[in-house]
Symmetry: C2
Amino acid sequence: MSWMLKEIHEQPDAMSRFYDKESGAIKAIAQKAKGLNISHIMIVARGSSDNAARYGKYIFESHLGIPTILAAPSIVTVYGKQLKLGKGVVIGISQSGQAPDIVRVIKSARQSGAYTVGITNTKGSPLAKAADDAIMLRVGKEKGLAATKTYTAQLMSLMLFAAFFSGDSKLLAAIRDLPAAMMQTLAAREQVEEIVERYRYMEQCVLIGRGFNYSTVQEAALKFMETCYIVAHPFSTADFMHGPIAIAGTGFPVFICIPQGKTTKQLNEVCSGLNKKQLETIVVSPLKSSLSLGTQSIRIPVRTSEILSPIVNIIPFQFFACFLSRVKGLDPDNPRFLKKVTRTL
Amino acid sequence: MSWMLKEIHEQPDAMSRFYDKESGAIKAIAQKAKGLNISHIMIVARGSSDNAARYGKYIFESHLGIPTILAAPSIVTVYGKQLKLGKGVVIGISQSGQAPDIVRVIKSARQSGAYTVGITNTKGSPLAKAADDAIMLRVGKEKGLAATKTYTAQLMSLMLFAAFFSGDSKLLAAIRDLPAAMMQTLAAREQVEEIVERYRYMEQCVLIGRGFNYSTVQEAALKFMETCYIVAHPFSTADFMHGPIAIAGTGFPVFICIPQGKTTKQLNEVCSGLNKKQLETIVVSPLKSSLSLGTQSIRIPVRTSEILSPIVNIIPFQFFACFLSRVKGLDPDNPRFLKKVTRTL
C-alpha cells in the first residue's frame, strides 16, 4: 500500500484528533484577530497549501464579509516591497513550515504591523517561529509526497478560525461532525477503483468547480498532475465559459464537482451543456439528480452543508489520483522531479 | 487577414490614442482614490480582463504597497454576501461593460461604501453606469473574438492609475514611450511565422512567467486555448516547481517569458533546469543570454523596464496564437462554443 493511500484513509481519525487537541488554540487566535477590528486578511501559501488558502478566501469572504487577499509572494521575495498590512491578519500555510518564501512574507507582514498566524504540521519550524501565533495540524508526519491529510487539516483550521471568529455555534457543531462524514466518504474508494481503468490513457482533462469547491478542483488537478502526469486544468465554471471551453472537443474529459447547495443548479446546467457538446463528464456529487447527468459518476455517500463540503469532497479525487497513478504504471509516492519539501523564492 | 491579426497590429496606435485622450481622466481618478487613504484595492474581472487584473495586483502591490484583492465574484452573485469594502477602491474591468457578474460586484461594492471605477471599451455600458467613475479604453470596436487591443489598453489603464497615484514622473515618461516599443515589437511577427509550423501537432503545453509577467503567460495561455484548442497551463515559476513539473516528460513544450529585470536570473536557471530534463523550451525574451537557452526562441526587439514589459511582451504570444490557429486549420476569429460577450453569474 502506498503512503498516499494509507494517509487518505487516516484522514477521519487525524481530523478528530486535530479538532480535540487544537480547537482551543484556534479559538484563542480567532478571538485575538477579532479584537483587532481588521479590514482584510491575507493568506500566503504554495502548492496544496495554496489550494487550502483559496478555500480560506471563500469562507472568510462569504461567512465573515472580510476581503481576503491571496498573496503573491514575489512582491516581497523578488521585488523587495513591504505591503501596508497594519490593518490585517496575515496567515501563512506550509505543512513543513520550511517554505522560505512563505516565511519571508510572514516576517515582512509582521514588521508592517499585521497580526501573523502560521499553519503548519511541524512544531518549531521556521514558519511557527516567524509568526505571532501558530496553529499545529497534529496529523502526524505526512510520508506520502502528495499532500492529503495535511490538506484537509489545513481546510479544517481555516474553517474553525472562521467559525470561532463569527461565533456561529451551529457551524461549529457541524464541523465537529466532519470526521464522521469523512469516514463515510472513504466508501467512495470502491467506485473509484471500478471506473479508473477507463482513464489509463487520459493525458489531459479539465476539472470544474464553483465557489467553495473551486479549491477542491484546484487541489484535485494538482494531485492529477503530481501523481498521474496528466495536464489537468482546473477552472471555476464562469472562467471556463470565458474562453477555455474551446479546448474541449468530442470525448474531452471534464470532471465536475457538484455539491448540494447554492451552486447545484448552475453546475447541473453546465454539465448538461457539456453533454450536448459530446464531452465526457465525470460527476462527483452526493446528489442522484447530478450523478445521473455524468457520462461517469462517483457518488459521495454523505451530504454536508456546502461551506463544509470541500473537506469531504476532495477524498474521491485523492483516491482517483492514487489509483490512476498505479493503473498508469506510476508510483504516487515517487513522482519524477519532486521532493516533499519544495524551496522556492 | 483575420480581425485578430489586424487588431494585434493596431495596438501601438490604439495605445497612443488612449494615452492622449484618457490620461487626464485617469489622473483625476487616481488622485481621488489617493485622497481616500485606502487600505486595499479590489479588482473584479473575467477572462482576459482578469489577466489584466492580475497585472494590476502586482503593480499596485509592488509600486504602491497597497494589498490588492482579485475578487471572487461568486461571493456576491452566488452566496449573496456584501463584502466590507468601505476602506477600499474597487475596480471592475470588462471590455464590453456588459458582464453581469462584474456589474453586480461593482454595485455591491459601491453600496458598501467603496469608491468604484469601471474600465471598459463601451461608453454608456452597464459597467460604466454602475461605477462611480469610468475609464474608457477608446481603442475602437474590437471585432476579433480573442481580446488583444482591449487587453493591452487595460494594462495601460492600470499602470497609468498606479503611476498617477504615486506621482512617479519617471514612470509616467516611460509609459509614454510604450506605443513606440509596441511598434518595434510587431517585428517579432516574422520570427513567429518561421517557427510556428513546428507546433502544428502540439496539444498541450505549459507557460511559465514570474512576477509582473505571470499575467503575460496567463493571457498567452488563454489565447492558446481559445484560438488553437491547446490545453495550455500557465504557472508562476514557484507554483510549477511545487508539483506540476511532474507532468513534463521528454519533449514537453514549455514557453518561458524572460524579461530584463529582477526575475531574469531565476528564470534563466529554471530554463537551464528544464533543458537538462530534455523538455522543449521556447524562450520569449529581449535578452541574448536568455534566448540562447531555449530549444526555440522568439526575440523581443526592445527592452522595457520590467514593470512595463507585460504591455509589450504579450505581443509575440498574440502572434503565436493567431498563426498557430491558421496552421492548425482553425479560424482565430471563430473558435467553437464562444461568443464575444460571455454572460456568467
